[in-house]
């Protein structure tokens, strides 16, 4: 016998994400799901961002990695609360992993929570974790073909941070093409060109972040 089901496959995850989101909203915390490939500079961007913003915003971080606590230690050194999740092999964070660590995150003491996803340009884009928005980091060394090769993440992200622009003189990378293709996939995406090494462009990014949640 045939039975109609008609259910979104990730419905359970979406329900849990909605519960997480309600907890964040009740606590008055704005949440960003930060995604990008391994080595794009997600943690370095966060370190920079925290140092620039921590006088203005109370920031907390959840670090997602397959193994290890290196990233959490780096964030800990900036002086903000951080919780490390080890996925033990999973290529992305999901809403359940976040809800399991929420008791360790002092939501009442935060304005902004950044959830740094597992380094991966594909899977994290698929799973909501309860965020207000998704942002992604793409380093220019990854090449200008990435928006069209990995369209889903560019489509899902509200902001694209192009990192490592200090390397531009040494690279044959077409930033205009990255911008054009990203905008074609997602006309409203905000694009920031930064160097986490030199600090160039970080001010525009932190200014944008400062405005979030207070609109």
């Amino acid at each position: 016998m045939k039975v109609k089901v008609v259910t979104r496959i990730l419905e359970a995850n979406e329900r849990l994400a909605e519960e997480n989101r309600k907890k964040f909203t009740d606590a008055g915390v704005f949440v960003i799901n930060l995604m990008g490939a391994p080595g794009a500079g997600k943690t370095t961007l966060l370190e920079r961002t925290i140092r620039e913003l921590k006088e203005k915003k109370r920031i907390g971080v959840i670090e997602g990695d397959i193994e290890g606590t290196d990233d959490a230690e780096r964030i800990h050194d900036t002086g903000v609360p951080v919780v490390q999740i080890n996925t033990g092999g999973a290529c992305h964070l999901d809403a359940n992993m976040i809800s399991e660590v929420l008791n360790d995150v002092p939501l009442g003491e935060l304005d902004l929570l950044v959830i740094e996803n597992v380094g991966n340009l594909v899977c994290p884009a698929e799973f909501k974790v309860g965020e207000n928005l998704k942002a992604m980091v793409l380093s220019i060394t990854e090449g200008h073909d990435k928006p069209l090769k990995y369209p889903l993440m560019f489509r899902e992200s509200s902001a694209l941070v192009l990192n490592k622009i200090d390397l531009l003189p040494h690279m044959n990378v077409d930033i205009a093409k990255i911008r054009k293709d990203a905008r074609s996939l997602n006309p409203s995406i905000e694009i920031f060109e930064v160097s986490c090494k030199t600090g160039e462009g970080i001010d525009r990014w932190t200014e944008w972040l400062s405005g979030l949640g207070s609109r």
Partner: protein, 115 residues
Amino acid sequence: MHEASIALSILDIVTGKCSAEGYRSVKSVRVRIGRAAGIMPEALLFTFDVAKGETLAANAELIIDMIPLGGTCSACGDEFEAGNTYVLNCPKCGSTEFKIDKGYEMEIADMEVDE
């Protein structure tokens, strides 16, 4: 390899419905997956077969209907389908103003059960 998570979610949903409605087992499941949804069908089939053991869907076949990316042009009104996983221009008039409404599906359509 997030296909494993997707396979587990499919199994949770269909075996849950199977036991809730008192059927004996699931014979097959049909899912609709958009071509731009980021799912590799081979990986989904493989992980589904690994994960289904000892569930009410232990003998179930997974049938995947792939849905092409498609949309409607805001300029000329053309309803188009794309062979790729992204669209940059309306294939008919070239406009960049269009709405994508197909190709990101990830849903279970129906299942065959033993009563």
